[in-house]
């Protein structure tokens, strides 16, 4: 019994990028957002792993949505997500071993990333495969862009590099070491969140409450 009058695949895709951006608009997935945005490489690996899990989970949940028992649905979502997270973790350990070591526990922690369970609940368990895939792609892209924005600021100011390439010729003393540490994550997220709110307030003509 699919709801056919839900948003179309394209609407779902576009919503994920900015109007319903998982980090800046829904404030979901804060753990990886704060923990692995110290440099671009780690942030993009995390985004790719999350995208893989989100797309697979949305596809599976959308395919079995008519068989779901309402009171068992969260259990099914969690089983699905945990399976694909484990696969992503093993794939990284096999093919991107140094990155797997750097991300450490944060890959297994994708299981508890609320973005994914939220998309299963809001979209995939109610809509057909098309919108579910569009939604997963849009939300993944939105998450990747959010992580990229934070990681760019932190890596540039904290180390003077971007994707490990020297951009600003900092001496060791000039590097703003705070930015690659935990406080830098909070400062950057807070500032960019404010900017995102300000921009969306401008666009919609009214200030939305933060």
């Amino acid at each position: 019994m699919a709801t056919l009058d839900g948003p179309t695949p394209l609407e779902r895709f576009i919503h994920g990028i900015l109007p319903e951006n998982p980090v800046y608009r829904q404030l979901l997935g804060m753990c990886p957002t704060l923990a692995v945005t110290g440099n671009m490489k780690a942030a993009m690996t995390m985004s790719a792993a999350t995208a893989f899990v989100l797309i697979c989970a949305n596809i599976i949940v959308s395919l079995i949505r008519n068989q779901l028992k309402p009171h068992l649905r969260i259990l099914v979502f969690t089983l699905t997500i945990a399976t694909f997270v484990t696969i992503a973790d093993r794939l990284l350990a096999a093919f991107l071993y140094p990155m797997s070591k750097q991300l450490g526990p944060y890959i297994p922690l994708i299981i508890v990333n609320c973005i994914i369970i939220c998309r299963c609940e809001v979209c995939a368990s109610k809509q057909t495969l098309g919108p579910a895939i569009g939604d997963a792609l849009g939300q993944s892209l939105g998450f990747a862009l959010a992580l990229a924005s934070i990681a760019s600021v932190r890596e540039l100011l904290g180390a003077g590099t971007w994707f490990d390439l020297q951009v600003i010729p900092f001496s060791d003393q000039a590097k703003w070491g705070l930015m690659v540490l935990a406080p830098g994550a909070f400062l950057t997220l807070g500032t960019l969140l404010g900017v995102a709110n300000w921009i969306s307030g401008k666009f919609s003509g009214k200030r939305t409450a933060a």
Partner: protein, 188 residues
């Protein structure tokens, strides 16, 4: 049927079986490659840890409780050892590889296999600049970290990371002592 346990739970049971099989397949397919990645990281460090060492010629041996590599040069001559060591750092466990000469009297190299020290401060222990400070130190010395070293047995500590620096010294001290004892005991 609708209200029986099976009627409620069949989907959960079915996907558990399917996902279980999927994960087992992934594990069977990738386990060997993941184990090889770990071993390769160790082997690839052998030439840096024992100058002149060749990974292909070296063999893994068990020294008491400790895994070690007997390092040979290109001609098959025994020129040193690489031993694994681990202990607590400031944040979490630090795993090291220590290179020693053939008699295990001198440290010839140090490599950090795994660590979760504070980014930008403690995690500088993995940089060559810090690790190289251990080269040439005798294994019977008790090494310690100090901000202004006063003797040959003191290692220049990383600024802002005295505990991480001292942890590495402690792990090296403990591991080399044990290994030297095991080597002496094993060869009698």
């Amino acid at each position: 049927m609708k209200n029986s346990y099976l009627g409620q739970a069949w989907l959960v049971l079915a996907i558990s079986l399917v996902f279980g099989a999927l994960l087992a397949g992934v594990q069977v397919g990738l386990a060997a490659k993941i184990a090889a990645n770990k071993l390769n990281e160790t082997l690839s460090q052998i030439p840096n840890l024992v100058p002149g060492g060749v990974a292909d010629q070296s063999e893994e041996v068990q020294m008491g409780e400790r895994a070690a590599f007997k390092v040979m040069d290109a001609n098959g001559k025994h020129i040193g050892w690489v031993i694994k060591a681990a202990g607590n750092g400031f944040a979490d466990r630090i795993e090291l590889l220590i290179g020693l000469d053939a008699d295990a009297k001198m440290i010839t190299g140090l490599y950090v296999l795994a660590q979760k020290e504070t980014p930008a401060l403690g995690d500088n222990i993995k940089k060559a600049e810090f690790r190289d400070r251990f080269n040439g130190k005798p294994t019977d010395a008790v090494l310690s970290a100090a901000q202004s070293p006063e003797g040959p047995d003191q290692i220049q500590a990383l600024s802002g990371a005295t505990i991480s620096s001292q942890s590495v010294c402690d792990i090296v001290n403990g591991a080399t002592d044990q290994f030297v004892a095991a080597l002496a005991g094993g060869e009698e």
